[in-house]
């Protein structure tokens, strides 16, 4: 049994561990004390990381849909078929697109981007998780000029104050929750902004209740309290911040509570403070504003640019940052260069030897609804996108759908061509954590059947669309990534023992452009109810969870128990409506209505009804295109 060091394939904390294999099969996971992030610890997902690759429905042969049935074919046949059909559709003037992935390596994403832009001549390039995490990064960039995090997980442990906009940190990012816990254990003040009683909120010194979707209002309140009490860091404000006077004006009418004053004092007086913002699904602009306002709060209190202090956007999936770094977005090239930045375009054109398309592309949701041919790399849009099952319906209408994945996801099931690729345990490559650490994957076992490493398959596709280069290994691809985006140029030169290639900490050397979160999203009338989609990232539909016997149990059980989903309601509201636990309620909004069973909770704010992300499809009519809406609640 040889321990193979690798990087955790789940959330973006970037833990490391050893995969254990015996006679060519994965058998377990072993801890590492030398890994700089995990430090001898793992969460439940990490401990069971070997399971999905071993127990899951793996794709083992290239498959082509012929007369409604997926039939196995040779690799050459499959790749030629893909090239032929897509070329035919392009020649017929039809649009095409590519989805990259937050669970694919940097190398795979880079080649997916190259395939789209240089090969298929389109900027219709995105990935599902971008809808969840993109707004956080954009909000941070608006204030700081860059979207790199300014602290590491280990820095959190020595913070004196932590401001956490709470999704459910203990569930989504256990390693980050561990760091927060360690700080609180040492006496740090934890302040949470939340609408439910989560585990982290129970550990908090101060809970700032926020109406769902109105977290920005609380951040604005904190900003106003800082200014009102004269707690700004004068040096930071005078030297680094732009727009201070406008900020002061924008905050004049903002209501400040005693709790906000207390929180503002703790934040401002701390030598080291941490600001954590979780990923939320959908409704990009408000999330972006919240991220920007949080960065503003960190900037005016002097915590941006101060060693050990700063803001860390909590990205949902392991390689969200890597996919963004590789330019898997419709409007950015590798390295976050804007599509209309001529110098960057020219550099990439020189590197790839092809002219690049200039019209901006579509985002993931629009791609699904409008292209005729789509290549999907290790992504399952119905599981991730807020549009849920409507994404599957849209995928079903696409004329030619090609899926590269290790697992038989719902998206792969309806593909016209399935190309089996190696899972994280069977390929070389790199992953970039939310801290910005670029870390390696290593091969622990061979891919099953005829599956091949994703970078090889994508390189073959690139070659068929005249965007090729000869890559002998994933490292060759990484070398080219270094030419396309300078930050990756040093990858491989100063590696620590775990292959970590250093943190991309934000330099935050420039000016901060201050701004507020602005108007709240929704102000329901007194006594009425709001229906809120719980945008805490749902791991249950992720193939690495759903194919793991240990990790999938809770989710499977819940789906079995609640085939019609459920909505959570607080005891007080349930009594007022006269609904018993488990019985259905009728929810009516301006968009539509739905009848859903209830689950009664004691820790929910009165007036708020919460729908788990996994059950969003059952109330899709009520939400329309929103994630928060005013509803009428009645017995059904």
């Amino acid at each position: 049994m040889l321990p193979v060091p690798t990087t955790c394939p789940f959330c973006a904390c970037g833990c490391g561990f050893y995969l254990l294999a015996n006679q060519g099969e994965l058998v377990g996971v072993a801890l590492s004390e030398t890994h700089p992030v995990s430090l001898g610890r793992l969460c439940a997902r990490g401990w069971n990381a070997h399971e999905a690759a071993l127990w899951g429905s793996r794709l083992t042969q290239p498959l082509v849909n012929r007369s409604g049935k997926l039939e196995s074919v040779s690799w050459v046949e499959a790749l030629d078929h893909v090239a032929g059909r897509i070329r035919g559709l392009i020649d017929a003037g039809k649009s095409v697109g590519v989805l990259g992935s937050a669970r694919a390596t940097n190398e795979e994403n880079y080649l997916a981007g190259k395939l789209a832009r240089a090969g298929l001549q389109t900027n219709n390039l995105d990935f599902s998780y971008h809808s969840i995490c993109g707004p956080l990064l954009t909000g941070l960039e608006e204030v700081c000029g860059e979207c790199t995090p300014s602290i590491s997980l280990n820095d959190i442990e020595s913070s004196q104050t932590i401001l956490l906009i709470e999704g459910d940190l203990a569930e989504t990012h256990p390693r980050a929750a561990s760091a927060v816990m360690a700080a609180v254990d040492k006496g740090a003040h934890l302040i949470t902004i939340t609408h439910t009683g989560t585990q982290m909120s129970r550990l908090a010194s101060l809970v700032l209740p926020a109406r769902p979707g109105n977290e920005g209002e609380v951040i604005d309140g904190l900003l106003a309290a800082v200014l009102n009490l004269g707690l700004e860091d004068r040096a930071s404000v005078e030297v680094r911040c732009e727009g201070y006077d406008a900020l002061r004006r924008d905050l004049e009418a903002v209501k400040i509570t005693a709790e906000m004053r207390q929180a503002a004092e703790w934040i401002a007086r701390a030598t080291r403070a941490t600001f954590l913002i979780p990923p939320v699904s959908g409704e990009g602009p408000p999330s972006r504003r919240e991220a920007a306002a949080l960065a503003t709060l960190a900037a005016v209190t002097g915590h941006l640019g101060r060693p050990g202090s700063g803001l860390l956007p909590l990205l949902a999936r392991n390689n969200v940052r890597g996919a963004c770094d590789m330019g898997i977005t419709p409007d950015r090239l590798p390295g976050y260069h804007r599509l209309d930045d001529e110098r960057s375009r020219q550099r990439l054109q020189d590197l790839w030897g092809k002219k690049l398309p200039s019209p901006p592309g579509l985002d993931a949701e629009s791609i699904l609804q409008s292209v005729s041919a789509l290549i999907v790399l290790a992504d399952d849009p119905p599981a991730v996108l807020p549009m849920g099952q409507r994404a599957l319906a849209a995928l079903g209408k696409i004329e030619f759908l090609v899926v590269l994945d290790a697992f038989l996801t719902p998206t792969a099931q309806i593909a016209h061509v399935v190309l089996p690729i190696a899972s994280f345990a069977e390929t070389e490559g790199t992953i970039t954590s939310m801290e910005g650490r670029v870390q390696r994957l290593h091969v622990a076992t061979d891919p099953p059947g005829e599956a091949r490493p994703g970078w090889q398959v994508l390189a073959e596709l690139c070659a068929r669309f005249d965007a090729g280069a000869s890559y002998r290994s994933a490292s060759d691809v990484l070398s080219e990534v270094g030419q396309a985006t300078p930050r990756y140029a040093h990858v491989g030169q100063s590696e620590d023992r775990w292959g970590g290639i250093g943190m991309a900490k934000g330099s935050n050397g420039g000016k901060f452009r201050l701004c507020v979160a602005e108007a709240p999203r929704l102000t329901p009338a007194e006594g009425s109810h709001v229906l809120v989609r719980d945008d805490t990232y749902d791991w249950g539909r992720d193939p690495l969870v759903s194919f793991s016997p240990t990790l999938s149990r809770d989710f499977q059980s819940q789906r079995k128990l609640f085939p019609k989903g459920f909505v959570e309601i607080c005891k007080q509201d349930a009594d007022a409506v006269g609904v018993h636990p488990g019985r259905p309620v009728r929810l009516t909004s301006v968009h539509g209505e739905a009848v859903v069973p209830t689950r009664v909770r004691t820790d929910l704010t009165p007036g708020v009804l919460l729908v788990p992300y996994a059950f969003r499809d059952h109330v899709a009519n009520v939400f329309g295109t929103h994630s928060v809406t005013a509803v009428k609640v009645e017995q059904a």
């Binding site: 049994m1 050893y18 072993a30 001898g40 610890r41 071993l54 203990a170």
Partner: protein
Amino acid sequence: MVFTLPREGTTQWLEKLLEAGEVIAPVRGPCGDVIFSALRSPAQVVWDFENPLHPPKQFVLPQTDPLVKIKLNGQRHEVEPIHDDSSRTLFNVRSCDVQGIAFLTRMHEAEPPDASYLRRAHNLTIISLACTTPCPPGFCACTDSGPFLSGGYDLQLTDLGGSFLVEVGSEKGEAAMAKAPDVFRKATEVEVAERKALEVAAKAHFGPETCHFGSAMRRISTGRVQDALWEKMADWCLECGGCNFVCPTCYCFSVKDLRRDGTWVRCRMWDSCQYTAFTLEASGHNPRAQRKERMKRRFFHKVSAQYYTRDSMVGCVGCGRCIKTCLGTTHMPAVVAAIRKGKWHE
């Protein structure tokens, strides 16, 4: 009988042991961690090390353990047991882990005996290395499972500097020595005295962790731990299951069939009693749905008088691994202290 093994004789002995079967020993892994792994050459063995965080219990109770192969033959299912008959030597294992394996063996020997586990355990020769310097998080003095052992091993080595004192604990131990009889000689009285002095010195050099099981056992066994305390502590657990997986005495498992080329392989897999779904029933009912209930169950199981009255030991060997690996702060010494004092973080 007590023998002496000159340091230079270890290579020859290990070579002979390797000829006879698999030798598992702490080796330095690719990223600097010391890990229990199958030796390829004697030079890989590390002699001066803090106990590896990943325990050696995986060699008697693997994380994924194939038990039987199930084949469909016509209309009938044929079941074929999978035997792991490999002869293994666990070399340089620490005292706490020896006691851990002894604990697991007692449990798996109980009616009905677990043939799969016992086959591995019976084919395992345990050569321990006494802890002349206790590891920083260890508290084996509180569980009577170290730093030196008075039994449970096949051979116990003590590092005397230029040589190792070898104490024989069983016939398996004698057989292991017989692989290279020429490298051993009878120990002198001075060497035996030196080993005793090292044990006394080691006991005086424990780290800061202590775990007073006595009063905690009384309180937990007589139902004197308030529910509110479990509730409070449960908020400081992140439900990673790490405490179970690294614990030398934890053996909880679940069973799952793995499909492989027309056959199914029924596997036993490590599981954690701290996971919500561990006790989840098919109906959807969960007798321990709340974390405080699962935590209470775990510590009752480990600390209450049930094992003590039977085996004269608690369900903990004081290795301190849970302190290092706990993603929250609810490791054994912290919880035992809270049970004893009746308060948490106050």
